[in-house]
């Protein structure tokens, strides 16, 4: 297993084509815009070597018997599913950000499960390729980015109906030695500082969409791959020092990029689905279940940091003992732990798939994520409430460091006597970082927008059973247990009472 330092060093050996703000990022490990995201991902490597965390950070590979980083593990039990979310919460706590590596983990697990099912139906050999690929990832402790969301063009049309056929990633050529793919994937977390990209379809497909039913893996610097790193609110604060960022070390959310595949060649051993359109929906659903499971852990880990920051600000401003502040901070904890309950529940309720790998309960995983589209807004609202208007009016680090204004800021931005002004400023910036900007929309849309979860919940919520229950209780349908308990039917029972 690589250490954090070795991971950072490993990135310098890759030469991905990445653009940001009209320039090329030459080294993701060293560029001030991407370095904090690299640091966050490095934490996933570093903690695997720390005895205080290795219990959740590592696993034994069922493929090789070797000790591996849990992010590269195929879950072999519900215990593994639970350990994954425990690991993810810890990493949210340690980075106060997104550490990006769960997407590749979920992609590998989803493809592992689906490739087995494809082979069973069509007699293909995708599953063996997936196993070999995962062994390669495990052996080299690589970080693959999972790339699912296509750019989609006109959302009312399926892939094959688009005016521009490249709105979804597709196979443009099949050769003896592999395939050539074209298209683009949007908002791909952590891809600029990954070693590999695992691409998957983004939606259920029909027979006309066959060319779009493609899953594959390529190195991030494969020929024809271009990434355009997305802007974030306040991203250029990274160039102005460390105070104004709030979380200068690990940034905010994962750092997402548009990934363009411009006729990229993929050798057959790295192709995991090619034309099996009837399995695209399953792959999406399995991946989404894994990824939605995570959000009740990573966001809760980040919430732990925000709750701590809010409590610190309250102390620094002399309001920590006010009853409404105590109540509000307790409410933040309640909201966060509610989400934690959800993620644990969907993990404990997980099950074994025909491939032997385990996956979380899809209904509960979707409920987990749907709560995450709501609760972080509420705990952020409370954090801003307690922190006060200064969360958006605080003077900058440059003014704080300017000899002409420093003493004025020292004097007038001070809270309680025992807290240095700079510490109060840093804590307020952390609240700002975690409750304003990219963090909230990421909670909303990461792992799928709320409507995607609603669709899954509606599909799996077994409404018919609930309607039947109501009919029995309302006396519209016969209650078999009532009859056994009372020895007569409901009608006869109530007739006697009259």
């Amino acid at each position: 297993m690589m250490t954090g330092k070795e991971y950072i060093e490993s990135l310098r050996k890759y030469k991905p084509r990445i653009y940001f703000m009209g320039r090329r990022i030459e080294s993701v490990a060293d560029d001030p815009i991407s370095a904090p995201h690299v640091n966050a991902a490095a934490m996933t490597y570093e903690l695997a070597h720390d005895p205080r965390y290795e219990e959740v950070m590592t696993a034994i590979s069922h493929l090789t018997g070797e000790k591996i980083n849990r992010f590269n593990h195929i879950h072999q039990s519900t215990e593994d599913l639970v350990k994954k979310v425990r690991m993810i919460r810890v990493l949210g706590q340690k980075t106060g950000s997104c550490f990006q590596r769960c997407v590749g983990c979920d992609a590998m697990n989803a493809i592992y499960i689906t490739s087995y099912n494809i082979d069973k139906k069509y007699g293909t050999n995708y599953h063996e390729r997936v196993r070999e690929y995962i062994k390669f990832v495990q052996k080299n402790d690589l970080m693959p980015a999972g790339a699912m969301t296509d750019v989609k063009g006109d959302r009312s049309k399926r892939p094959s109906q688009q005016a521009d056929k490249d709105m979804y990633v597709r196979v443009v050529e099949k050769r003896e030695d592999g395939i050539v793919v074209r298209g683009a994937k949007a908002h791909i977390t952590g891809v600029i500082n990954s070693h590999e990209i695992i691409a998957m379809p983004t939606r259920a497909l029909e027979v006309d969409d066959k060319d779009y039913a493609v899953a594959f893996a390529v190195p991030v610097d494969a020929e024809g791959v271009t990434m355009i790193f997305g802007r974030q609110t306040n991203d250029l604060r990274r160039l102005d020092g460390d105070m104004d960022c709030g979380n200068a070390k690990y940034a905010t959310v994962g750092g997402e990029a548009l990934v363009i595949f411009d006729d990229v060649f993929v050798p057959w051993e790295r192709v995991f689905m090619c034309g099996e359109y009837d399995f695209a929906g399953e792959l999406v659903e399995v991946f989404a279940t894994f990824h939605r499971q995570n959000y009740g852990a990573c966001k809760v880990g980040v919430a732990d940091v925000l709750i701590g920051a809010t409590a610190n600000v309250a102390e620094m401003q002399g309001i920590a003992k006010a009853s409404h502040v105590v109540d509000k901070i307790t409410e933040m904890i309640h909201l966060a732990e509610t989400c934690w309950c959800c993620t644990l529940a969907c993990s404990y309720e997980g099950y074994k798939t025909p491939s032997g790998a385990y996956m979380p309960n899809p209904l509960l995983a979707n409920v987990t994520k749907l709560n995450i589209t709501r609760f972080p807004y509420e705990w952020s609202r409370i954090a801003q409430d307690i922190t006060g208007g200064i969360v958006i009016t605080l003077p900058s680090e440059k003014d704080y460091k300017n000899p002409e204004t420093k003493q004025l800021i020292e004097k007038y931005i001070k809270g309680v006597a025992e807290t240095p002004t700079e510490q109060r400023m840093r804590m307020i910036r952390l609240v700002e970082n975690l409750s304003i900007g990219a963090e909230l929309p990421e909670s909303m849309h990461g792992a799928g927008s709320p409507q995607a979860q609603k669709i899954m919940i509606a599909r799996r919520g077994n409404l018919e059973m609930k309607k039947e229950l109501a009919k029995v209780i309302a006396g519209i349908k016969e209650d078999e247990h009532f009859k056994k308990m009372r020895g007569v039917s409901e009608k006869e029972f109530f007739a006697k009472l009259k």
Partner: protein, 82 residues
Amino acid sequence: MKIAVKYCGGCNPTYRREEIEEVLKKHFQIFYSGDSELLVCISGCKKGCAGEKAKGNFLHFDEKTDEEEILRRVNKKLSKEI
């Protein structure tokens, strides 16, 4: 005296787990793997993940414990072992 320490993953601890190890370090040689006279499992909460698969001569802490109590329990275990 060789004491091995095994931590849980620390996802939602109710106290600072390192406090237990800090006490042990003051009095014993601590290892994270390999043979030892005693295995001390440190869990952050009552779920007790660190102790779930422990075997042999082991001791399990799952809540904040003062130094005196830690030493009492460790010494008791070690004296039994001897």
